[in-house]
Subunit: 221 residues, 2 copies
Amino acid sequence: MARVGVVLSGCGVYDGAEIHESVFTLLALDEAGAEIVIMAPSGPQMHVINHLTGEVMDEARDMRVEAARIARGAPLELGEVKAEDLDALVFPGGFGVAKNLCDFAIHGPSCTVNPDVAALVKAMHAAGKPLGFACIAPAMAAAIFKDAGIGAARLTVGAAEDEAAKAIEAMGAHHVACPVEGIEIDEANKIVSTPAYMIGQNLVGVRAGLKAMVDAVLAMI
Amino acid sequence: MARVGVVLSGCGVYDGAEIHESVFTLLALDEAGAEIVIMAPSGPQMHVINHLTGEVMDEARDMRVEAARIARGAPLELGEVKAEDLDALVFPGGFGVAKNLCDFAIHGPSCTVNPDVAALVKAMHAAGKPLGFACIAPAMAAAIFKDAGIGAARLTVGAAEDEAAKAIEAMGAHHVACPVEGIEIDEANKIVSTPAYMIGQNLVGVRAGLKAMVDAVLAMI
C-alpha cells in the first residue's frame, strides 16, 4: 500500500487549504487504496479572512489546528515527517499555500518557502519520489526548484496569461496551459500538476483534475 | 434544473458542518446537474473546538461566516429562504447540526431546534418537497417532525444500538439500521437519510452514501 503525504495549510480557500481540493485529494487517495498521511506545519496563518465578506478578521489561527478540521483528526507536524516515511507527496491548493507555506501571494517570483516544506519537497525529489501540486501550489514548486538549482520543471496552473503562470516562467520553470480536468505530467522530475480552482468553475471539473493528478502520482511510485 | 438547498452549520466536524459530508453533498448535486443553494443561519456556534486537541477554545465563530469556507462564497441567510424557492433541501451532518442547528448534543430527545431551520423543514414537508438528512441530522429531523405532530418518519443514523438511534425512536420516529453506503427512503414523507460518519470508516463509504442520498432526493422531485 502506497503511503502518500497530503500537505494542508489551514482550512478555507482565502487563508488556508482549499477545502474542496483537499477533500477530493483525500477521496482519490482512498479510492486508490493508498494510505493517507495528512500533515501541516504548526504556526500562525498569515491572516484570517472572513469568507462571507472577504475582510481580514482580527483573529489568529494556527495552520495545523485548522487543517485538523479537514483531516478529522490530528495532522502530523510537517517538520517531523521525513521523505523516507512517504512514497509520494501531494499539495492541494488554496491561498494558504501562497500565504502560509510560502509568501508567493506577497512577493511573487521572489517568494521564500517555509523551510520545512522546501526541505521535504527537495528530499522527495532527490529520492525519486513523485510529487503532486494543485491550484496555486505549482508556483511554490517552481520557487523550491529554483532555490534548489533543479532543472526547469513542467508545471501548470491552467491559463498561460495568469500572473501565476508568468511567475512560474520567471522562476525558470516551464508553464504549460491545461484544462481544469487535465494534468501536466513532468516525467523527468516526477511532478504532476492540475489547475483546480485556478480556473475551475464547478466541483465536477476540479474533482476530475484532482483524481487524475492523484492517479498519475500513484502510477509513478 | 432542480434547485436544491444545502444547509451548513459551520465548518468542521466537532463544532460545525462535517467537511467531507458537505463537499460530497455538493459534488453529488453538481454531478446531477442540480442548482446548488447553500445556506446557513447567522449566529454564534455553540462553541469552537480545537480539532487538533479536542479542547474548547476561548473563541467565538459565526455559523454562516464559517460555512462560507465550505461554500467558497456567501451562503444565503437561512431565515430568508422560503420553501417556494427550493425543490428539495438536504442537511450534511457534523456536530454543528446537533449543537448549532438544534441542541440535541446537550438535551437528546428533548432538544429544541433553531426556529428558522424547523420552519423551513416543515414548510418543505408541507409542500411535498423531498428532504435529505445525513449523519446526525436525522435526529434533528425526528425532533422537528415530533414538534410538528407529523406521523412517524423512517430514518437512519446507521446502527440501532447508537444513542442517536434510540433517541430517534424516543421522539416517535422509526429508526432503521443501514450500512454507510446505503440510504433509508421514507416514500410517504419524502425523506432520505444516510449514516455517513455516524458509522463511516473512510471517505469512499461516506461519499457513496451521500451520493445515493442526493440521487434519491432528486428522484423524488
